[in-house]
Amino acid sequence: MRVVKYIFLIFILVIMIFPLLWMFRVSLLPAGSSISLSDFISPVITFSIFYDIITSGNMLKYFMNSTIVGVTVTLGNILFCFMVGYSFSRFRFIGKNIWFYSVIFVLMIPAHVLIIPLYLIIYKLGLYDSYAALILPFLVNPIGIFLVKQYIDTLPTAMEEAARVDGAGEIRILFRVVMPLCKPALAVLAIQVFLTNWNSFLFPFILTSSESVRTLPVGLALFQGHQAIDWQHLMAGSALAVIPVLIIFLFFQKQIVSGITAGAVKQ
């Protein structure tokens, strides 16, 4: 019984990781050779395709664009989701409940339905085809606010009050007292935001057109267009998109998992 279970689990595991292995395998084949299925077990490994996409073509530029946008959006979310979450958790002001319910409301809006108005707004603000178009709409997200607010709700207020009695200003309390306490929640938030942004396709695709601000997923999706598909370059570019994710996954698996299950399973 135990053996049967293991065989089944391994069988599923092979199905789940084979496609990614195949991507890496194709990207490490010698340039120009036609791919055949038996290449999967071929012992030949060369980095010539990787060298090629890094030194020529636009892949490296797309990679850099994805990095710039991903890092900026992540930093923005850490700062803003923290500020807003703190405000919703600790302050009382007119309309606060309405604003907080708006977070939950937006969580349920299917964002893809809004591509037309978002495109037009970005266009009319003069931001179309710029980094700003890829960054500004995504600097604060409802899930992040929710996550931070829930976390701060569980923290005791004693330290903030002590700081306030000592005459510390609100900004100082925000960054020096509360922020350090929120590190675990902010780490979860940062990883989630970065991965989502790094993999995102639809919005970067509709909000830009030129190669100078194109992100990696968009570059990969539009790479096909030519006559015959150049699988080796395409798979090497894909590997470039996957490697950072794998590294993050390796080091922060705990945060990724708790980010996914945090909002989800709550009685």
Binding site: F91, I115, A221, Q267
Partner: protein, 287 residues
């Protein structure tokens, strides 16, 4: 106290601005655009009432894309949910190698959808691994590969989607399983209950809120399927979906009014589904 009230506002402004500029305004703006004949940027346009909606109801492409979206939702969600639950049950208890299986199953769901879609385009193509496998087990795959045939294109994308997302929902099920008190199982064992009996009368009822939650988020997600369709078929071979239709009419043909109207129809359909499902969730006492 007054200054604290002001500080609260101040800290909340990033959200208030984002909400108004990038959520509420677009929602209202596209509702308005749906009643106009707005085409091409910087052209003038006028109010045409329900004309777009009337035209959509007899637009063959739109109806096909809606039908495909429904097939996608109804076809993938039960399969994904059942496989995810099965995997979660299999690796719920601690055993050597458990983390490896968990990570491996989960890995596809944090990989870029574009990358996954590209890899599967290769696997599904004539002479690709899946094509070959289908031949070996005696199926006759379409001559040009799975994605270039009306019969198989949409279903191939759906199968890939199930493959990609089971790991994600497995994680949610694992979290749900963890919250079931072990004593219940022990008590059932003392009473002589077998595996199946324990599953039917403890696991399944107590997982009901998680199952419903998974169905809700997967429904909202699946109704918006676009990336995989764009990368793998460009909506050809009868595989267009609702968001693909919105993209195609709005941002390829620049018929903003018409596309906005179609987006609102999809929006209302998703809202109806969500309301029904949230009603069910509430019945389960899930907040």
């Amino acid at each position: 106290m007054k200054s604290r009230r002001f500080t609260g506002w101040l800290f909340a402004t990033p959200w208030i601005v984002t909400l108004i500029v990038f959520w509420l305004f677009p929602l209202l703006y596209s509702l308005y655009l749906g009643f106009t004949d707005y085409k091409l940027l910087n052209s003038s346009y006028s109010w045409i009432g329900f004309e777009n909606y009337v035209a959509l109801l007899s637009d063959h492409d739109f109806l096909l894309s809606l039908k495909n979206t429904l097939i996608f939702v109804i076809g993938t969600i039960p399969v994904t949910t059942i496989i995810a639950l099965l995997l979660a049950l299999l690796i719920d208890k601690k055993f050597p190698g458990r983390t490896i299986f968990r990570s491996g199953y989960f890995m596809p769901s944090i990989t870029s959808m574009v990358v996954i879609a590209l890899i599967f385009t290769n696997l599904y193509s004539r002479g690709g691994y899946i094509y070959l496998l289908a031949k070996i087990i005696g199926l006759s795959p379409p001559d040009n590969g799975f994605l270039l045939s009306k019969k198989t294109a949409l279903f191939s994308v759906m199968a890939m989607d199930v493959w990609m997302s089971v790991g994600y929902y497995m994680l949610l099920f694992l979290a749900g399983l963890k919250s079931i008190p072990r004593e219940l199982f022990e008590a059932a064992e003392v009473a002589g209950a077998g595996l199946w009996r324990k599953f039917m009368s403890i696991t399944l009822p107590l997982l009901k809120p998680v199952i419903l939650f998974i169905i809700v988020i997967n429904t909202i997600k699946s109704f918006q399927v676009f990336v995989e369709i764009f990368v793998m078929t460009r909506g050809r071979y009868g595989s267009s979906t609702a968001v693909y239709f919105i993209y195609e009419t709005g941002l390829n043909r620049f018929e903003f009014g018409y596309a906005s109207a179609s987006a609102y129809i999809l929006f209302v359909i998703i809202a109806l589904f969500s309301i029904i499902q949230f009603g069910l969730l509430r019945q389960e006492g899930f907040r």
